[in-house]
């Protein structure tokens, strides 16, 4: 499984370098506009979206076929991909937290964490089974369609809370975070289960 995760990151390394430039640009623009949390959320969601390319690489280079002859189970194949998404999410959240904390303070950082976690969890849970089932070409379109709903809701809530001056307090934030983490874990667990089923039925 370690080899599969390593393959994902090494295959993406060139792309990751070019993405860093985009992230710096976003960070600078949103920081200048005094909305670091918005910039950080976009970076977190954009960053995880770049991992969609892994599915394109799988198909294009026939790594999906080769992976199926490695001494790993279907479960390990799927878990490795989720791990790549998970590790990337944590790195993005870490960097974004520091950025938002410095430019916006703890409350805005908390808000950013909530929204970013939610978006990343949703993205990971939705895109992986879709990509395994339909491939990345169709999968990307399907994902964008499903993304409209939570993206709209999240942005609406964020803007509404900001405009009403109702920034969450420490206790409220902790409760929301806990509930959100439970929800994300549940979503990802169901997603993993579905992905394993899809991958184990796959023929080449």
């Amino acid at each position: 499984m370690k080899g599969l995760i390593l393959n994902d990151f090494l295959s993406m390394r060139k792309l990751l370098k070019s993405i860093l430039f985009v992230f710096f640009a976003f960070a600078a623009i949103w920081g200048f506009m005094d909305q670091p949390e918005t910039g950080a959320i976009i970076i977190c969601v954009m960053g995880i979206s770049y991992l969609f390319n892994l599915f394109t690489y799988d198909e294009y280079y026939h790594w999906d076929q080769y992976r199926s002859i490695l001494p790993v189970s279907h479960k390990q194949i799927v878990l490795a991909r989720y791990a790549a998404f998970g590790i990337t999410s944590l790195i993005l959240l870490g960097i974004s937290s520091i950025y938002t904390l410095i430019l916006g303070g703890a409350a805005r950082c908390g808000l950013m964490l909530l929204v970013s976690l939610c978006m990343q969890g949703y993205t990971t849970a939705v895109i992986i089974p879709i990509a395994y089932k339909f491939g990345m070409q169709k999968g990307r379109m399907l994902y964008l369609l499903t993304m409209l709903i939570p993206f709209g809701v999240m942005m609406g809530v964020t803007i509404a809370l900001s405009e009403a001056g109702m920034l969450p307090t420490g206790g409220m934030l902790a409760l929301m975070l806990a509930a959100l983490i439970v929800l994300i874990v549940l979503m990802v667990m169901v997603s993993i289960h579905i992905s394993i089923k899809i991958v184990s039925r796959k023929s080449f």
């Binding site: 080899g3 599969l4 390593l6 393959n7 280079y61 076929q65 199926s68 001494p71």
Partner: protein
Amino acid sequence: MEDMILTVNHLCKSYPQFSLSDVSFSLPKGAIMGLIGENGAGKSTTMKLILGMTSPDSGSISVFGHAGCSAKDREDIGVVFDELPFAQTLFVSHLGRIMKGSYQNWDQKQYEEYLQKFALPDKKELKDFSRGMKMKLSLAVALSHNAKLLILDEPTSGLDPVVRAEILDIFLDFISDGEHSVLVSSHITSDLEKVADYITFIHQGKLMLCENKDNIIYGYGIAKADKATIDAIDSQFVLKKKHGKYDSEALVSDRAAFSRQYPEILVDPINLDELMLMLCSDK
């Protein structure tokens, strides 16, 4: 009975436009089997079924003496596809790290020795490798985790004779201890004539022949004569007849016995290309 490393029994698989029907063969330890057939004959499908990349509709596969091909079995199988299946932005050292994390028996030292032997540089991305280099890299990976069985799909196609000869030598070296085996598909039948112990010929999804190569090369022959003479040959000698515009041919499985019985009929030795053409012929 010889110790079999791979046994395929009555394998069937149907796709909308292609069917593999009732394919059976066995590969003993210490042997090389050449899988031949035209494009789309079912060679790759057979290999994919063996590797568990797709499930058969019926029939069975036994690898290393037990049914199926589990993840643990795949630890002992080295596979080479006709295309390099790795991201082209990787370096060979990256591939070593990936495989080290994938195979328990990965031998990094052996991998580095193969890289050196094949003159594969680590300063080039895989996309800058020639086809020969890519194939050598695939082989280096397949040979560096102490596999007992190599399954190779068209490993020598598009390669020059020098590289092909190098690769064939590696196959012979691989099986030399009598414990390792190779299943290799190829359109370059002259390569298989040099190294294969057994030939399995699949045509339009059906098994046409599975035979010891020496029996084919030294036993089989093509009798050439006019139509009436060919038609008069005892059917026990004849595997296939082909009638052309000017002459006729018969494929015989024992040319020595045939020559004793019919000394007046010319019978030539046969190579694998001619055998394929003869067996595929519908004239």
